[in-house]
Symmetry: C2
Subunit: 719 residues, 2 copies
């Protein structure tokens, strides 16, 4: 059959996504903000969060501007001024949109939190729906903006009228800057926010719970507002930027591979990833609006129902898009494509959706107290903190195996399905389609994710404003569900990074003109080794940064207690702002080194091997020996760095989540309950897990994708 | 000039090494065994250690026999009966010699420990020299046996009369079984011994120091003998088997590459690695006999002097061997080699020796309390165990960067130096020569290493037999030096694994007939991903095994205290044997799963991709598409598994060592000293570090080399 042009779906989805986000925002802002006490606390959180983001974006803008100029100059020198400017413009747009995503996510979150707390005064369902709608605003606007940014640039740079694969390739290559800009901002946003949130959390806990013996979220603790601010700047703004750049980078990578199939699919193969994303947004909107918790229902089962609806709808729409667009033409002198090509690619998309489901399930298996892993950690806490740490770390390490095997099988199946079409490079495109399938539910997942910090904040506000025990319990129930959704999203984010790794790698090879990345060449081996070492060093810096920043908070809180004895007595108000300020400065200072390390390493590998030649390989066309292209070692860095990064992120996310829930399991009254020595041991594990799961782990997702986008941007320089 | 035949040096070195080991053994056995109390304790240790080794070797022999039959049958089916039998015989010899190495190391160690303690009653120097000589017996006999085994097989299989490179290749390929046998035994020896030693250590500490409040090495603790037995079976037997297989595997790998240069160097290029090893043994003998501590000297400075002498002498002898043997002939139709070829290869050897020095220095920088890292961990303990763990883990992660960069530079330089000779594959041979250079001081390093557990045991015996405070202090001083040498050896072992990785990888490619390992093929990417995941899962199992085995000891000790209240009162003797027995059974049970995982994973990858074909590649000779060879994904597993394994081993070894020394730094009276809350926090880190640095870390060195030898053995099956 003839291909149908579905590109209008992109515009429809963007408008629908942003429109719904707007409607939901209006709905939320109309809701009640609770009593004066609540408003006061919320105002303090809002002030702190805005101050942090303002300063953070200033720092990031400076770094981004320098990099934009450097890359634009280098690319302009190599490929002409136009190309350099287009890439720089795309970079600027990606960076701006990414920052805007984080900003929107945070703005809505700091408004939903207090309204969710106020809603809990009315009914449990009111609190839940407010928080979920707040999350949905983030999810929908972020994913829509990612799609909008790419679409604007693609059509703006002439992709709509490109008629040859060479022209199309040039347009798509110019888009790459958008992904790089997005991931650069995301890296710093997640690093800075992640350091902030965990430094405040660890600092507040150590000096409050441990030293002063006051409960969590006690208003006498000067670090308590900083802790609540942290949930917004780390979890909301950080993860928002993370999934913004994921969807952007993977869309662009898929488009690069789509160009390879230009002879068969033409324009449709390049635009298919965007249409698939568009349908995903529409499916997510339905899923979000369908969620209504029944009065006596556990919050997670309502959320899961929405996820299921979204996935089924996305699968159907995906099939329709594949049927309409992926109908191959015939190409003279090339193999004839299988007429059922669209079915194979539809199946690829479903493979991706299955991977998403499996990752969500595996994450639960390793981090929920229903299963043996978390219980094992809790049990190990009986012999003290050391055995708690040993057991938790083993769980984290073990939790890499199933996800790795899942992605490996999915990748091989998708590649095989794509190969069966008989289209050259069809297998590669199959892996890209699988990634599109996995990410089609991104908006819904992101809504669930942002739900987490909103209810976390809501519970804190409720606690600090002195609500009744019954209401506090309801908010704690929501908070627990929020912890689960946050963990699941991290699993989903790692899974998508893992599945996308191969496609982004191949996009890089295509653009860098490298045919193979052969580990038998010493330069490539060295590049690979450095890629893996980068992951370890980056993790070291990210984890340590939390310790350093936490230290300055502990010092400040101790000083406040000493200078104003009235604080502990409850007669004097602590200076929350001072602690927020110290935490902000600490986090921003600490994010620079790991961030720059991630940017500089691949560039340095590329530059070194552009000029230092050790291996000479035979060019089969000319019959001459020529130095190994720098793209090969950079490819090694990218690929092995990605493998190591994904595994390390799994260790850190899962270990951290499991420690957290082992502590909660004990607090629920098992093995001695709260206050027992077993509980004290479990608190140590939870604290160790904090920077693992909320700073280093999520930052590694972004590092992995930054490696892809930065190498893609560099590709023309390595030719 | 003409090549000289230096192959007689191999025989001279083996005889000299074994002869000196014999002389030193006689010297040690003549020494005084101290008072009755000391003899009694030593007898208990000896009994426990022998019982463990006997049972362990039975288990290993069973596993090895099954594997030998399977591999011999598969290889015999594929390449003829003779080849299969030769490989199986080599495997059996490698396994036997490796076991023998561990056995000798342990036998001499359990005799030197009490004599060193007894020597301390006379003079400090007497204790030091006894322990060092005990270590030297291990070092010399292990390295000599490794050389002897390869030489016997090489000449026995007709390597001495092979006149073509094809014949020579077949002989060398049959040797590969020796390396596989050695690494298989080493893996189980290190795993079993490592689990035993740390389960006993952790168990004894938790139940003794923490629960019962009695000091370390207190004779009332039923686990105290198990703890002392552990030093022998883990550190002595385990590390002995580790370095035995390192030297064996790397020699064989270098010989495989030497065959590639057969046209230029003939026999000399293949035998050079063995001659270089022979000279290394001779240099080490001189170094060992030169060490005499001056009366007031720190033990480490005496040991370092010996190391320096060994290195300088080895460098000179290496140059002589290169000059005598590496004089290239001319080959019709091939490039003319540079007449200074031997100088370039000499420099390669020196590069290897520099790497050894740098690794020793880097290890010290990260694990000694003179430097900022350990002090940072100690400082972080002031805010409790959680910050201690966070800081220590960061140090471990950070400690991967410098070693990775060092090996990367060394590899590129050695490859470049080898390429300058103008000989095809000369660069590859250069990396092999660098590894030979690094390992030329192995016998001396191993002597220093085994010194560690001997003085550790000696100090325990002295403590338990109630010597005076002055003597106990002297033994503690030696014990501290022993901790340093153990850490350095681990650094050296990782370094040699890292440097050897590339050569062993290329040896595999040569034998598997694989030209490239291209990460752009999905199977290869999957193989690589699985290799890295294997490292994480293996670490999880190894670390958790310690926890499980420790748990059974804690239970037994608690039971003994409860059943016999007289033990704590000092009126009744605990049943040491029962705890030793429980620990033995626990360790052997726990070693099986991680051990088999390491063996099965690469075999499974090979089998799967031998039969499942997804990518088809163009054969440039036939012009046809053919399925990707299974050697490629297996190569990916090998190489990326090796990279991940080395980095993870560095994290675990360094983190563990740094935690240990942070605790010691506090115990020396800093930051509150022994018994303070800071010290308690540091003890948690030390306990966490135990399974890291003494079980999982060292087992990973062997895993990495097992991956090399098992893939080399499998290579003919993947063709």
């Amino acid at each position: 059959m003839e291909q149908l042009d579905l590109s209008y779906i992109i515009l429809v989805a963007i408008l629908a996504g942003l429109g719904c986000a707007g409607l939901l925002t209006r709905d939320i802002l109309r809701r009640d903000q609770g009593n004066e006490k609540m408003k006061e606390i919320a105002a303090a959180i809002q002030q702190g969060a805005r101050a942090f983001l303002r300063r953070q974006y200033k720092t990031i803008a400076l770094i981004a501007a320098v990099l934009a100029v450097v890359f634009a100059a280098a690319l302009g020198y190599e490929k002409g001024l136009d190309f350099g400017l287009h890439t720089a413009l795309a970079f600027a747009l990606g960076a701006t949109f990414s920052a805007l995503s984080g900003f929107i996510g945070m703005q809505i979150s700091i408004r939903s939190n207090v309204r969710s707390a106020a809603g809990s005064l009315k009914s449990f369902n009111d609190a839940l729906v407010t928080a979920l709608r707040g999350g949905a605003v983030s999810g929908l606007s972020i994913v829509s903006m990612s799609l909008a940014g790419i679409a604007i640039l693609f059509y703006g740079y002439g992709g709509g009228s490109a008629t040859t694969s060479t022209n199309m390739d040039l347009v798509v290559l110019e888009l790459v800057g958008f992904g790089f800009g997005a991931s650069l901002v995301a890296l710093f946003a997640q690093l800075g926010g992640g350091i902030y949130t965990k430094a405040a959390d660890v600092g507040a806990d150590l000096v409050g719970k441990v030293e002063a013996g006051i409960p969590e979220d006690d208003p006498r603790n000067p670090a308590v507002i900083a802790d609540l601010v942290g949930d917004n700047v780390g979890d909301c703004a950080g993860r928002g930027a993370d999934l913004f750049e994921s969807t952007a980078a993977e869309n662009i990578g898929a488009m690069v591979l789509g160009v390879l199939l230009f002879p068969y699919f033409g324009f449709a193969g390049v635009i298919f990833p965007l249409v698939a994303r568009g349908f995903g947004i529409i499916a997510s909107i339905v899923g979000i609006f369908i969620v209504h918790a029944r009065e006596d229902e556990a919050p997670m089962s309502a959320l899961n129902r929405g996820y299921l609806v979204t996935t089924i709808l996305a699968a159907i729409l995906f099939g329709f898009a594949a049927w309409a667009m992926l109908q191959p033409g015939t190409v003279a002198g090339s193999p004839t494509a299988d007429p059922n090509t669209w079915i194979f690619y539809w199946l690829c998309g479903i493979v991706g959706m299955i991977v998403a489901f499996l990752y969500v399930w595996i994450t639960q298996y390793y981090t929920e107290s229903r299963y043996r892993n978390v219980r094992g950690i809790a049990k190990a806490s009986e012999t003290g903190p050391a055995t708690n740490i040993i057991e938790g770390f083993s769980v984290g390490l073990e939790a890499t195996a199933l996800p790795a095997v899942t992605v490996a099988i999915a990748l091989l199946v998708a590649y095989w399905l794509g190969s069966v079409t008989n289209i050259p490079n069809g297998g590669l495109y199959g892996t890209a389609i699988a990634t599109m399938g996995m990410l089609s539910t991104a908006a819904y997942i992101l809504a669930m994710d942002t739900f987490g910090p909103i209810v976390d904040n809501g519970a804190g506000i409720a606690e600090m404003s002195g609500v009744s025990d019954a209401i506090r319990k309801n908010m704690d129930k929501l908070d627990a569900a929020g912890n689960t959704t946050k963990a699941l999203t991290k699993g989903y984010a790692v899974g998508s990074a893992a599945l996308a790794a191969f496609l982004l790698f191949n996009a890089f090879l295509t653009e860098a003109g490298v045919k193979s990345v052969d580990l038998a060449h010493p330069e490539t081996f060295v590049g690979a080794f450095m890629g893996a070492a980068l992951v370890f060093l980056f993790s070291a810096f990210a984890i340590r940064a939390v310790g350093h920043a936490a230290w300055s908070i502990i010092k400040d809180v101790r000083d406040q207690f000493k200078e104003h004895p009235g604080i502990m007595a409850g007669t004097e108000k602590p200076d929350y702002g001072r602690t927020v300020d110290i935490c902000t400065r600490g986090a921003l200072r600490e994010m620079v080194v790991p961030g720059l390390l991630a940017v500089i390493t691949p560039v340095a590998i590329g530059l070194i091997f552009k000029f230092v030649h050790i291996t000479y390989v035979l060019n089969t066309t000319t019959g001459l020996l020529e130095p190994l292209k720098a793209g090969e070692p950079v490819g090694g860095t990218l690929m092995v760095g990605t493998i190591a990064g994904i595994l390390m992120a799994l260790v850190l996310n899962t270990g951290g989540g499991a420690w957290d829930n082992a502590k909660k399991y004990i607090e629920a009254g098992n093995l001695g309950g709260k206050g027992s020595p077993t509980h004290k041991a479990a608190v140590v594990g939870d604290t160790v897990g904090d920077p693992f799961k909320d700073t280093a782990g999520p930052s590694l997702h972004i590092l992995v994708k930054l490696l892809s986008t930065i190498t893609l941007v560099m590709a023309p320089l390595l030719l």
